[in-house]
């Protein structure tokens, strides 16, 4: 009971601190500090509730136990990370997004194909494509190639739709200006339409980062060599070693955030001119 009571006090104190901090004038330090305090509070609540209510570690291990497990099994986690994220997700992401981009540029010259592809692409992007995973595992075998294939299929359509939309986003005045300059099609594409499409393209790339990780991990549930994050999660769940599962989740969360953050940084340097980046 003391645990629960103590954590309530801590929670309220942290919240009051955050309310105070958020009233201060804006600064990068505060923008980082406030969510950090909130995150720490969540961790403390979690730890205290698990200890205070004596929840079995089989159901929900406390953060401290997860941290210990994480530190103790770094080699295993690294092997899984390489297998799933680098080999599966990243290669699939690059192939899928690249193929979608090239397709979008290829159909760009034909308004007929665009009008046909956009609705179909939007439709397919909303479908539960993860369901293709068992089929692709059947086709490409158990190793990372099948995971990459799942990722390719998952990221292709969101990326395609975004790129096609982006290429249409330059307005009439700008395109007319290009015509008065006597710019050829490739020139107009390189100088005007591709740069103008960048915010859309990066939106697609950012959506696809999470999709890529999900695809690579879920595909491992349908068969994998004896390494990989999805494999580890499903086997450790079976052994009720929940701390290991949470350690893998931590890796997945870190990898996902880093992946997303990396693309967002790249976006910032490429689309520095866009209003959303200047604000």
């Amino acid at each position: 009971m003391t645990w629960v009571f103590g954590v309530l006090v801590f929670w309220i104190a942290a919240w009051l601190l955050n309310v105070r901090l958020s009233k201060l004038p804006k600064s990068p330090v505060i923008a980082l500090l406030v969510p950090a305090i909130f995150g720490i509070t969540l961790m403390v609540i979690w730890e205290a509730v698990v200890r205070g209510m004596e929840i079995s570690p089989v159901l929900l291990p406390p953060p401290s136990a997860i941290a210990v497990r994480f530190a103790n099994s770094l080699p295993t986690l690294w092997v899984d990370f390489v297998q799933t994220v680098i080999k599966g997700a990243l290669s699939g992401y690059i192939i899928g997004c690249g193929a979608a981009f090239l397709t979008a540029v290829a159909v760009d010259r034909s308004p007929f194909l665009q009008r046909g592809l956009l609705p179909v692409g939007n439709f397919v992007a909303a479908l539960p494509i993860v369901g293709m995973a068992p089929i692709l595992v059947m086709w490409f075998g158990f190793d990372w190639q099948s995971k990459a294939a799942v990722v390719v299929v998952m990221v292709f359509f969101p990326m395609l739709v975004n790129t096609v939309q982006g290429l249409q986003s330059s307005d009439h005045m700008q395109r007319d200006l290009m015509r008065t300059y006597g710019a050829s099609y490739p020139q107009a594409l390189m100088k005007l339409r591709l740069p103008a499409a960048m915010p859309f393209i990066f939106n697609g790339l950012k959506i696809c980062t999470t999709l890529a990780l999900i695809g690579a991990i879920v595909a491992e549930f349908f068969g994998s060599p004896i390494r990989g994050m999805g494999f580890r999660i499903s086997t450790e769940v079976g052994r009720l070693a929940l701390d290991m599962v949470w350690a893998e989740i931590t890796v997945a969360a870190l990898a996902g955030s880093a992946f997303y953050g990396g693309v967002a940084l790249l976006e910032k340097s490429v689309t520095f001119w866009h209003p959303s980046q200047r604000g």
Binding site: F38, G116, A126, T209, T210, I214
Partner: protein, 287 residues
């Protein structure tokens, strides 16, 4: 209407590609069989065989269509082999998760818009939460909730909720903030309370944003429900059909479950679209 012909062309092209791929992928097995039976196949025989195999690598569209027809119309709805029965199980988890996600998302958005502290502390974590590949953790959530004694719909709905609350939060925060300065000032000159501002101005002007988010959320929550069904031991639901099909190499069954899931997703999004049209029209906001 202008886009009908292009869409039709693209869809036809997809079907043609599908048939070609089916012939190409299944031909190895067809030749293998012929070799064992000591017959040589002519090209047309080979094609005919590739489109009618029992466990093809890639079933042809008409085989899938036949399987769907067999498992929806010809089977009793209560039968465990009826896709409608499995679809209904998935659908109910989807809808429950969708409702929970929409509720949670709206609540969070209301809090974020009204409290600066909440905006600063919660919003970054909401975004971070989506970089965690939750689908990958789905089996654990299911197993753990089962161990606590919660089974059936709820665990799947929790995963759907996790996937669907995010678009709603983002859309609603944007929507609730969409009234411009002039409108907010107008409210202030009338000396309205924050509650009135919310009900009369913020909520109505967030509707277009809400519906766009709901379309994404409903599709996401179907994905969540399907993946949530996989680790429960393939008992029931479209996800279970996928898993069982992949265990036993029943490719036609996998594809028919997949097509049904696709049809379900499409109709859910379409329903939200219709509700959006009707609501916005009655509110006088139709584009």
């Amino acid at each position: 209407m202008r886009s009908l012909a292009p869409v039709f062309t693209v869809v036809t092209a997809i079907f043609v590609l599908w048939y070609l791929a089916a012939v190409a992928l299944n031909s190895t097995w067809a030749y293998d069989k012929a070799k064992r039976a000591d017959v040589t196949l002519t090209f047309s025989q080979m094609v005919a065989d590739t489109l009618a195999q029992d466990k093809p690598l890639l079933p042809a569209p008409h085989q899938v269509a036949k399987e769907i027809w067999k498992t929806t119309v010809l089977k009793k709805v209560t039968s465990k082999r009826s896709l409608i029965w499995h679809g209904w199980i998935t659908l109910s988890a989807t809808l429950l998760g969708f409702a929970m996600g929409t509720g949670l998302g709206t609540l969070l958005a209301v809090g974020i818009v009204h409290s600066r502290a909440m905006d600063m502390s919660v919003m970054p974590w909401v975004i971070t939460s989506q970089t965690i590949p939750i689908l990958a953790v789905a089996p654990m959530i299911i197993v753990v909730l089962n161990a606590v004694g919660i089974s059936g719909l709820l665990p799947k709905a929790v995963i759907s909720m996790y996937l669907s609350f995010f678009p709603v939060v983002v859309g609603m925060v944007k929507g609730l903030r969409s009234p411009d300065m002039m409108q907010m000032d107008q409210m202030r000159t009338w000396n309205t309370s924050p509650a009135t501002v919310f009900w009369k101005l913020r909520l109505p002007s967030s509707m277009p944003f809400l519906f766009t988010s709901l379309k994404i959320a409903v599709a996401a929550s179907l994905v969540g429900a399907i993946v949530g069904e996989m680790p429960t031991g393939a008992v029931a639901g479209l996800g279970a059909r996928l898993l069982a099909g992949s265990y036993y190499g029943q490719t036609i069954q996998i594809w028919s479950a997949l097509i049904c899931a696709a049809a379900l997703a499409a109709s859910l999004v379409a329903i939200v679209g219709v509700v959006q049209k009707v609501t916005l029209k009655r509110m006088g906001m139709a584009a």
